[in-house]
């Protein structure tokens, strides 16, 4: 059969087939449904709307970072530095809007408190990406550098001190609501749609997947390999920066030692549960969101049902294995 227009009947069959394929491909979805059913049965007040909001606000940071992580993983890389970048961005914001400059020009100061930390995060991504693409440093190691020292820099900047503040405008990022839904929730949706478009509809995205699939071939076909790879790291770091701001905004406090701690593991797990392949070549953006939701719900379920922390760790391990195994079911 050659690839020409399909007849309407064929199209219908294709749709059904693609739905089955979708279900198979998304073992994650099955896992999600299972967790939700479990919660409805066992967790008190699970269907309460407030539960929904709590989970949305808590999943936002993991989701944002996981989306960025998915881009990096699509190039066959990995980014361990996201937690440290969150800390850096999170430490910078209060430094800026509590500075004397911001007191003199409140609006400008507030704007700078959003923009500057994200810019710094982008720079971190540029650093990571340059190491990977210009110096051929292996991604785990390249990003390990900032993983170690990024948080240190944040602590040097704040002298290790916890910075607390109360600032309505800034806190909106963490506590604001639109149509009753937490602002972060909307932000995640917007980011996911944007990045989805980028991956599936733009040149950047096509190159990204090609590079992840076969870097040499992509280069020989004229793909700007270095630029695209750096782009992935920059986007990932930028998103981590935004996540850092969200955390700080919710807490009305910034603790450089703690923001984004272990976030890299959650984000990687979310991306993989969502269908990303660590060797690259795939970037399921909504899969990553799905993965983040699963991870969040697992956390919620265990906490709400009073499972002891140490038992929760074991349960989480089992669920990650199960979800990823389901996810791969289609590969006989």
């Amino acid at each position: 059969m050659s690839a020409t227009e399909a007849s309407p009947a064929e199209k219908g069959v294709m749709q059904i087939e693609s739905f089955i394929g979708f279900a198979k491909r998304n073992g994650g979805l099955i896992a999600l449904i299972a967790i939700i059913l479990f919660n409805i049965a066992f967790t008190p007040n699970f269907l309460h709307p407030q539960t929904f909001f709590v989970n949305i606000s808590q999943v936002a940071t993991i989701a944002v970072v996981a989306v960025g992580m998915t881009l990096v993983i699509a190039t066959g890389g990995i980014d361990l530095s996201v937690g440290a970048v969150m800390a850096l961005a999170g430490a910078l914001a209060p430094l800026i809007f509590t500075s004397s400059f911001a007191e003199a020009y409140p609006m400008l100061g507030l704007a700078a408190a959003f923009v500057v930390p994200v810019l710094v995060a982008l720079l971190c991504g540029l650093f990571n990406g340059s190491l990977v693409s210009f110096l051929n440093v292996q991604p785990i190691i390249a990003t390990l550098i900032l993983f170690i020292s990024g948080r240190g820099i944040a602590q040097v900047l704040t002298n290790g001190n916890l910075q607390t503040f109360s600032h309505k405008g800034f806190s909106y990022l963490g506590t604001g609501k639109i149509l009753g839904l937490p602002f972060q929730g909307w932000l995640v949706i917007a980011i996911a749609c944007l990045i989805w478009w980028l991956v599936h509809r733009s040149l950047f995205g096509r190159y990204l997947l090609a590079i992840g699939g076969n870097e040499t071939a992509a280069r020989l076909a004229g793909a700007p390999v270095r630029r695209v790879k750096i782009g992935a790291y920059v986007l990932c770091a930028g998103l981590a920066g935004i996540a850092g701001l969200i955390v700080v905004a919710i807490n009305s406090a910034s603790d450089a030692a703690r923001i984004g701690n272990l976030m890299e593991l959650d984000a990687i797990a979310a991306a993989v549960v969502g269908g990303a392949l660590l060797q690259g070549g795939r970037a399921p953006i909504f899969g990553a969101i799905l993965g983040a939701i699963i991870i969040q719900l697992v956390k919620y379920t265990l906490l709400a049902n009073g499972v002891a922390d140490e038992v929760a760790l074991v349960a989480k391990a089992g669920i990650i294995i199960a979800a990823v195994y389901l996810q791969q079911g289609r590969k006989e």
């Binding site: 390990l144 602590q155 290790g160 140490e310 929760a312 760790l313």
Partner: protein, 332 residues
């Protein structure tokens, strides 16, 4: 055909420069320490430095084997913590029981990793991430979330605190033994060569009729066993079974392996260079402590993190300068 001298040059560049970098850096750092600090070269410092780093050398070697197959083992730190608890419980029966007991416990978790990776085809990064959580949970559960006393009256503490023949700490003697055995396994047995071949190309290894699954099981069990032994050292040398230890050990082990010139994609690797990598990274801590003791500047903990990151950066830079691309002549 092609002249022989050119080949020798090439071999020097592709085969050895990867590893010469780390030895040069190690020697340079040792000289720096000797010249700058009093007592840096004292027997006390050397012995205690090696005693502490024995654990890291062990897990790094285990990690090196896993990485050579193109895998990764994130669980080593948790496994060491877990087996330190096991060994502590076994300590009343003496080192004869606690030592094999700890190693076996680690190897058992390694077996589980192998099962996830080989039989369930879960990507190593995720499989071992799950066991990392699981082993930590397990350690906390069996220890009742407390450190576990060792029996100070049995001969268990000999291992970590006494010297073989009154000269070398036992831990170092054992590590040296393990290193030599594993070096021989890698360089001179078909199992070792299979490990390298798998990392070079798993498909090709299968088609060549190599027993890929067995070798993969082997590396995970080995890594678990090495971590298990490190856990025994931890209990014996540091006085208790410690369920909370081992955080971040996996990353320092990965860094040691990479600094030792091993490709994370697998197919290349060296035991001595990995040991040198582990020593190099450990030495940074030791030197930072001595620097603090000079009293000229007092480095806060944060600055230490920044410096460690920067140091890793420099080593990586040097390495990428000296080695260049090795993978295949077609790259670039």
């Amino acid at each position: 055909m092609l002249d022989q001298s050119a080949f020798d040059l090439r071999r020097y560049l592709t085969g050895n420069a990867q590893t010469t970098g780390v030895f040069v850096a190690l020697i340079a750092l040792i000289l720096f320490g000797l010249l700058r600090y009093e007592n840096f070269g004292s027997a006390y410092n050397i012995a205690s430095f090696l005693n502490y780093n024995a654990m890291f050398i062990l897990i790094s070697i285990g990690m090196c084997f896993v990485i050579m197959t193109g895998g990764i083992d994130l669980s080593v730190g948790s496994v060491a913590a877990f087996t330190s608890v096991v060994a502590a419980y076994l300590s009343p029966y003496g080192i004869e029981v606690a030592l094999p007991g700890g190693i076996l416990a680690g190897a058992a978790i390694g077996l589980l990793n192998g099962f996830f990776v080989v039989a369930m085809r879960i990507p190593p990064f995720i499989a071992t991430l799950a066991t990392m959580l699981g082993a930590k949970g397990g350690a906390l559960i069996i220890s009742g979330a407390q450190t576990v006393s060792i029996d100070w009256t049995s001969n268990f503490t000999k291992l970590g605190m006494e010297k073989a023949f009154g000269i070398f700490p036992w831990a170092i003697v054992i590590v040296a033994l393990v290193a030599v055995i594993l070096w021989v396994v890698l360089e001179h047995t078909s199992l070792g060569r299979t490990v390298l071949a798998i990392g070079g190309s798993e498909d090709a290894s299968k088609l060549m009729g190599l027993n890929v699954n067995r070798a993969k099981f082997f590396v995970y069990v080995l890594s678990g066993g090495c971590a298990g032994l490190a856990g025994v050292f931890l209990a014996s040398g540091f006085g208790a079974g410690q369920p909370l230890e081992g955080i971040g050990w996996e990353l320092s082990a990965i860094a040691s392996v990479v600094v030792g010139g091993t490709l994370l994609t697998g197919g290349l690797g060296s035991v001595p260079a990995t040991i040198a990598g582990a020593l190099l990274l450990g030495l940074v801590f030791n030197i930072l402590n001595f620097e603090n003791g000079r009293g000229t500047i007092s480095l806060s903990a944060y600055w230490q993190m920044v410096i460690r990151g920067a140091f890793l950066f420099i080593v990586i830079l040097l390495q990428s300068r000296m080695s260049g691309p090795v993978a295949s002549p077609k790259e670039n």
